[in-house]
Symmetry: C3
Subunit: 345 residues, 3 copies
């Protein structure tokens, strides 16, 4: 159902404390915490005694103790103490998942422990770059994660769905120049719209008075979609090689399956303008949040129809190119994992 | 599951505008609208590009454009334009359903297009007859549609369920004279109650002070149950041949399956008395609405038990005669459609 | 799924009147009432005409009449009158369940009528003993009934889950002396905690100022768990043979499956102190209710995990001894019923 051997976003670093945080990821219930000595830990959220979620328990030192009978687990998920008895049943432990804090993001590995390599975690230096300010949120969206991929990779929908914020003229979006490229397990889509009406969010952000040139670069790898956006007065700012811009936006989109029918969406919006003014980051976040609520309505409605009619014919169109590449990446990686599993058994 | 080749009530004419109206009928999601030039249109509620319900889109001229990527559909459900490209993928279209406005009612045909014949739509001239005033409502009821047929065809339950409105003495209802007749795919039940206590709704409507004679004629055809009701002071009004009455009520009952377990119920209540007084129609509507809420509780409770215990034995009684005929009509028509489908394949 | 040939708690005697009471027991919908002559009756909650729950009807004399078409049932569940006709269809009846009022509790028998023996109903004289005052409640808990057994039989969890009321030091509970004994289809667990900190509820009840000795005796039989609890100043009150106590509590726990995934929990808390003071019974009831809400959270969370992961390995620990005995009793009784059913067919 899911690619297992891959780093996924599990949350934001600031969410983690000695208070237990429960989240279902890839249909597996996970409990996460920061231990008293500062370790970042993710375990299976289920006591191996009687199945109470460990998230009902509490952190004690570097350990987690169950909220029902006080069994104590270490950061590797091993039960190291059972109240009322001197020994621990042999084999009493729960799954442990590598969890890494990087660029203010929590990255988790749900697959084969032997294959987890911290060097494979995607970078997102914008989160700690003083030239950018950002704010983020976490949503759970009731659809298959690939519908969110489709939505983020194809931005031609922006004109139809998001007229009140980042849209603009629908036709301008449909007729944007588009370049789609696959590199390894990644897909990059670049879109250029020249001499076009600035959308409401852009006007509110930077005060454009006339037509603008816009560019968008969407980079997909499984688990993360980076959207880099720029705009400048027509003819003033950039060409396809030189992407300096008056208005720069960077959207981080962590897409992690919760179940087959629901998806965690961890996003931040960063901007490079008016950094010293108050409330600019909050205002931008609010506009992007409104935009994503419009997307939620769309993808959840699609999900219901795909569930109702899994076999009704659909037709691909030109703007689907990027999304189709991403679906192929996912399918190929899942196929490879399936084959590897067959060989190892 | 359902008779396909039949006209069903899809709504009231006044519900239709250039605002899209979404409704599931016979387990099929349908989007309906009145185009800018006044055409009455019903299409499959699903864009054939990526399955977004078309009801998220908007009417443009005589067309409907999808709310995700702007694909344009004509009134036959054919996609005639895809933004961002010059051609439309061959075969890109959605189902179209004949929709007809008649007697203030919207009638839809969900089956074989070749068999749709407007002349087969039932008449209901009362809706436009100046001697009658009416008001209606639309409910969704969580039960199989045949439980609603049973309820409307057998009015002996009126005394037990509707004591506060149209009931009267329970025994009088059970002992009413009853005549049941099947004609083709129709069933008619006539009931006469002589010299009986007037129920509260009748007293509030027309001020009966003494006992009355009541008659009810229920005419079932698949999709529509017409209930014609009359009452007069005992001995003053009518006999079985001459049904003039002091109090006349006409109830239109459009019964359209939404799914196997839920049903659209479109009803109106019309009266022939105090036509020039204000609020009489509204007051009657409110009393009938209360009555139907009492019925909803009954049929939804039955549905739960039938789902829980599909195999527990039940026993038919005398008052079931009309409902049993109606069930036979439905079963025979479904059987005929099944046979026709086998032959054609 | 359930032991059938056993008395179960169906409610409290004071709940029963001529108002119909509907409750699902062992996945069977049951309607209960006290007839006008005072008979205590339980019938299948389903009219055998068209499946309307009989609980929509009303009591008339010693009979129940259906709320849809007025069919009349006697206290044996036999239909004895059908309005509008002179005869009753042969065989028209619904199931009847023996129902007995004893010690303010309603006990029901859902199994083979030939095996129902009133002498088998467990006693609970505390409910009518003037030396004890009690108050009770009824909850529906969304878990399998054996998770409630586990919870009540193993009181070592009290220190971890109920620190605000009846808990005390967690370690003291885990290290309590424990004696577990099986007698026939019963299990008795006795626990002794010497010289331990009194929990908040005990202090509020009786004003303990120093450490106390505590004892608990839990007696399980299928359907009922009696918990007898006592406490006294350390060294002042009792030893293992002489259980006189300053603070005495008696908890009645009727555990009746509603379905495989939900359970009726009928409980009372009785105390032997400050009987003449106002509000003491209510205050104790409120503290125990808070305790049981804490348990509800635990057992419902366990249930979700057991449903998600029926096959994940769990490990038994020392404190499970009593609960494991109770599970064996249930398994053996169900196995015996299955064998008897095979022989009789």
């Amino acid at each position: 159902m899911f690619i297992q051997n891959q780093w996924y976003v599990a949350g934001f670093a600031k969410e983690l404390s000695t208070q237990l945080l429960a989240r279902t990821l890839l249909s597996e219930p996970v409990v996460m915490f920061r231990s008293e000595s500062g370790k970042v830990v993710a375990l299976e959220d289920r006591c191996c005694h009687r199945n109470l979620p460990l998230s009902h328990g509490k952190v004690q030192g570097d350990c987690l103790s169950c909220g029902y009978h006080g069994l104590v687990y270490n950061t590797d998920g091993e039960c190291i103490h059972v109240p009322g008895q001197d020994t621990v049943p042999p084999g009493a432990k729960v799954k442990k998942f590598p969890l890494v804090e990087k660029d203010n993001v929590l990255w988790i590995w749900m697959g084969d422990l032997a294959k987890a390599n911290i060097a494979d975690i995607p970078d997102y230096p914008i989160h700690s770059d003083p030239r950018w300010a950002h704010k983020g949120s976490h949503y759970t969206i009731n659809c298959h994660y690939e519908l969110i991929h489709d939505n983020l990779i194809d931005l031609s929908h922006v004109g139809y769905v998001h007229g009140k914020t980042i849209g603009g003229t629908p036709a301008a979006h449909s007729e944007a120049q588009m370049f789609v490229e696959r590199q390894g397990n990644g897909v990059t889509v670049r879109r250029f719209m020249k001499d076009t009406v600035p959308p409401p969010t852009y006007v509110r952000s930077i005060g454009f008075k006339n037509n603008i040139d816009r560019w968008m670069q969407i980079t997909f790898v499984p688990g993360l979609i980076r959207i880099y956006i720029g705009a400048a007065d027509t003819g003033k700012g950039f060409d396809e090689k030189n992407q300096m811009d008056q208005l720069g936006l960077r959207i981080f989109n962590g897409v992690t399956p919760e179940t087959e029918k629901s998806t965690h969406y961890f996003w931040t919006a960063a901007h490079n303008h008016r950094l010293t003014e108050p409330n600019v980051t909050e205002a931008l976040h609010a506009e992007v949040a409104q935009t994503f609520e419009e997307d939620r309505i769309v993808v959840e409605a699609q999900q219901r129809r795909f569930e109702q009619f899994p076999d009704r014919k659909t037709f691909a169109i030109k703007i689907d190119a990027g999304g189709i590449h991403a679906r192929r990446v996912i399918a190929q990686l899942m196929e490879a994992e399936k084959k590897a599993a067959l060989i190892s058994t």
